[in-house]
Structure formats: structure tokens, C-alpha cells
């Protein structure tokens, strides 16, 4: 296989990498770029642990070929906080104890941010359906939904 050279933007930084043609974006983020905050829970798009945005659109990075992101803007969990200032969603996840083991947390945060970027005032039902592609086995989702609703409220005030 001939490797492909890809120029892209990751979390605002111009980034280049070489990848195999069949390598996924998830594998490149984790194995080549050292961004291991994006997790693999299933590799088949069923758990949402690998959620990232590409040009603002929420996707499972396990279902994207790395070669496809040439010229795109990729955003991962590592780019969510502003320096040492947590994003309100990150802070609310901590305040509400919305994580237990924490493996699904990056995916939930990236997905929840994509929701609030579009809909600053979601109902509980909208939050639950938007996040239905993110599996959490520890929390029963209760505290996650509360954290997202509370973060939305705070962001509307700001």
C-alpha cells in the first residue's frame, strides 16, 4: 500500500500526516497524532466514544477514512478547553458527577458541544435523542443529561 499524505487542521493547528489508505481517522488521531482522548469503544459507529467534529459536523471518527479529512477542520476533545479554562460543559460534567469511569466522557462532551452549538436551549428529550449515539454504561445517563442542560443554561446566560 502506498501511504497518503494529508494536510488538515486539528483543533485549530495545521497538521500533516502520512496514513495508509484504509486507516481510519480514529487510528490516525490516536496512533499517529498522539491524541488518545478520542476513544474506541466499538469501531463500528455504535457507541460514540470516538466522536469528533469535521467542519463542525459531528461524526464517529472510526467511520471516517483519515484520507478524507484533507483540507478539513477536525475538532477533538483535546481542543475543547481554552487553555486551562474548561468549557462550561466540561465544568458541568465535573460539578454534576456526570462521569464514573470516564471512557465515554470525551465522546459525550464533543457530541454535547455540537448540540449546543446548534441549539442553545434544548429540551430534555432533544438532549436525550441527540446523545442516543453515545453509550454510557456507568451512569444511566441521568447526571449526563442534567450536566448538559445546566451547561446550556449557563452558556445562555453568558
Amino acid at each position: 500500500m502506498t501511504r497518503i499524505h494529508v494536510s488538515t487542521t486539528v483543533n485549530g493547528d495545521a497538521t500533516e500526516f502520512l496514513c495508509e489508505p484504509d486507516e481510519t481517522l480514529l487510528d490516525v488521531l490516536r496512533e499517529r497524532l498522539g491524541l488518545t482522548g478520542t476513544k474506541e469503544g466499538c469501531g463500528t459507529g455504535d457507541c460514540g466514544a470516538c466522536s469528533v467534529t469535521i467542519d463542525g459536523r459531528l461524526v464517529c471518527s472510526c467511520l471516517v477514512l483519515a484520507a478524507e479529512v484533507a483540507g478539513c477542520e477536525v475538532a477533538t476533545i483535546e481542543g475543547m478547553a481554552d487553555g486551562d479554562r474548561l468549557h462550561p460543559l466540561q465544568q458541568k460534567f465535573l460539578d454534576h458527577a456526570a462521569l464514573q469511569c470516564g471512557i465515554c466522557t470525551p465522546g459525550f462532551l464533543v457530541a454535547a458541544k455540537a448540540l449546543l452549538d446548534r441549539n442553545p436551549d434544548p429540551t430534555e428529550t432533544e438532549v436525550r435523542y441527540w446523545l442516543a449515539g453515545n453509550l454510557c454504561r456507568c451512569t444511566g445517563y441521568d447526571k449526563i443529561v442534567r450536566a448538559v442542560m445546566d451547561a446550556a443554561k449557563e452558556m445562555r446566560r453568558a
Partner: protein
């Protein structure tokens, strides 16, 4: 494996037609990458069609809408014109997978994957949609129901690519709806899916109808007796009973991990009634 991202349909067709070994189109990739991971697909060539003009756009055409093959479910859901004209098709497209999957998955991919349980297909068939196929011998338009020929199989020939889906002009006083049954509220594959599209006259009498079923046979079923049960009625109880019976009768399902034969037959009728009533209300027939 080779990855190509051609800029024109012509070169995409040429790549696919000239490919040796197994060649796959990549649009959303939400089926293809899963199959690659599990080892079911081992492509020698992947042709990414997203950089081809028109593949990512929804354009008005003859009062209807032409949807590029790489338009994602999320983009369909955000398109006001499509939502107004064909709410059932939009609902069906938006039921494919999670928010994340919606960011990538396309109706054309859903069709070409040829799963009997594909959500968007019954809605497209009910809507009377066609696809435009580009191939080495030029282009042709084909009714959606002619594309899948069996689980995982399509009528596309070597080198052929579906470039777009066309939803016709919605007649006056018409409505469509799609319902599916899944054990979970989301993230699931249809156990049964029903698409209904119908028109009514000013008195609320149904003048035309198309009813399509998914996940109850090797391919999507366009059930004409079910349509006939509706035409000429105001969707009264007798008509709905006849509709349900016609749908159940048309089913040729299998027992599998997602449902039983008995269950699918029964629920096809139940969902058909419910979908028909939604479509009827959307058509202005009220209930």
C-alpha cells in the same frame, strides 16, 4: 488498497469501470467502513465521490428535488424545502443511526447497501422517487424499487454509480410518512418499516396512495393491494383494517435475531395503519 477522490463523475465512473478486484464507492462510509473492519469487505479500490460537483447539493428540479448521492442525513434534515415537501422521506433518512451517523450517512448509500431493513428505502419507494445512474454507457433514471435485488445485491452494473436521488413534485393535498419498529428508541435496525404516501381530494377522500414495506422480505415491497385499500376511502376503520391485512399478507419475512416471522407480519399491519393516518393528516385529510 487505493483511495481515489476524483473531481468529476466521469473519472469516478472510469475508475470504477476500470478497477481490478473489488471497488467500492465511498460517500458516508457508515456501512463500508464497518464491513471493512469486520473483514466482510476488502476493497482494492475506494472511490470517494464527495469532491464531485453536485454530489453534496440539494437542488430544485421540475418542482421536485434532486439530492446528490453524498448528501448526509443531517443535511437532508436541515433542508427546509425537503422537510416541507417530503416529511416522511426526511423522517426515514433521519432515522438511520445516531446523530454521528447522520453526519455522514446518505440515502443513496442506504439504498446501495441493499439491506432489506434500510430505513430510507420504503419512504423513497412510497414517494415514487427515482435515481440517476451514471455509467460507462451514459446515464439512466431508474425507480428506487428497481435498485435492490436481494440482501446486499443491486441491479447496478460494473462501473455504474448512483449520482442522485430525485423526489418528484409533491401533488396538491398530499402527505407522506415513515414509521419503523425498533426495540430501542434509537440506534437500532428496523424490525419492520412502513412508508406511506397519499393524496386526498377536497372532501378528504384518498385519491392515490403508495405503500412500501421494509424488513419483511429480501427487498423493499411496494404493496399495491395496500394502496388500493386506501384509495376511495377517508381512511375509516374498514379501510385501515384492509390496509393492515394487505400489508401483513404481503410480508415474506424471516426469523432472525431482530424479530420473528409472526411478529413482523403482525407489526407491519399495525405500523401501516399508524403511518397512513399520519400521512393522511399531513395531506390535509385530518382525522
Amino acid at each position: 488498497m487505493r483511495y481515489e477522490a476524483p473531481r468529476s463523475l466521469k473519472s469516478a465512473v472510469a475508475l470504477m469501470a476500470g478497477a481490478r478486484g473489488s471497488a467500492h464507492i465511498l460517500a458516508g462510509g457508515t456501512d463500508l467502513l464497518v464491513r471493512m473492519r469486520s473483514g466482510y469487505a476488502e476493497p482494492d479500490l475506494i472511490v470517494d465521490i464527495k469532491h464531485i460537483d453536485g454530489m453534496k447539493s440539494v437542488v430544485a428540479e421540475k418542482g421536485g428535488w434532486r439530492i446528490g448521492a453524498a448528501v448526509s442525513g443531517a443535511e437532508i434534515g436541515e433542508h427546509k424545502g425537503l422537510c416541507r415537501a417530503w416529511p416522511g422521506v426526511v423522517e426515514a433518512a433521519n432515522l438511520i443511526g445516531s446523530t454521528q451517523i447522520q453526519g455522514r450517512a446518505t440515502m443513496t448509500g442506504n439504498l446501495c447497501n441493499a439491506s432489506p431493513a434500510a430505513d430510507s428505502v420504503p419512504a423513497l419507494v412510497a414517494a415514487g422517487a427515482t435515481v440517476r445512474i451514471a455509467g460507462p454507457k451514459g446515464r439512466r433514471d431508474v425507480a428506487v424499487e428497481k435498485v435492490p435485488t436481494g440482501p446486499g445485491k443491486t441491479s447496478l452494473k460494473k462501473g455504474e454509480i448512483i449520482a442522485s436521488v430525485f423526489l418528484p413534485k409533491r401533488p396538491a393535498r398530499s402527505g407522506d410518512a415513515y414509521l419503523r419498529f425498533t426495540p430501542r428508541s434509537e440506534m437500532d435496525i428496523a424490525v419492520v418499516g412502513v412508508g406511506v404516501s397519499l393524496s386526498v381530494n377536497t372532501k378528504g377522500v384518498c385519491t392515490a396512495a403508495r405503500v412500501a414495506l421494509g424488513a419483511v422480505a429480501p427487498t423493499v415491497l411496494l404493496v399495491e393491494p395496500a394502496a388500493r385499500a386506501l384509495v376511495g376511502t377517508t381512511l375509516d376503520e374498514t379501510a385501515l383494517e384492509a390496509l393492515a391485512a394487505a400489508c401483513s399478507k404481503a410480508c415474506r419475512p424471516i426469523d432472525d435475531k431482530r424479530g420473528t416471522v409472526e411478529y413482523r407480519i403482525r407489526v407491519a399491519g399495525v405500523l401501516a395503519r399508524r403511518a397512513a393516518l399520519i400521512a393522511y393528516e399531513r395531506a390535509g385529510g385530518r382525522k
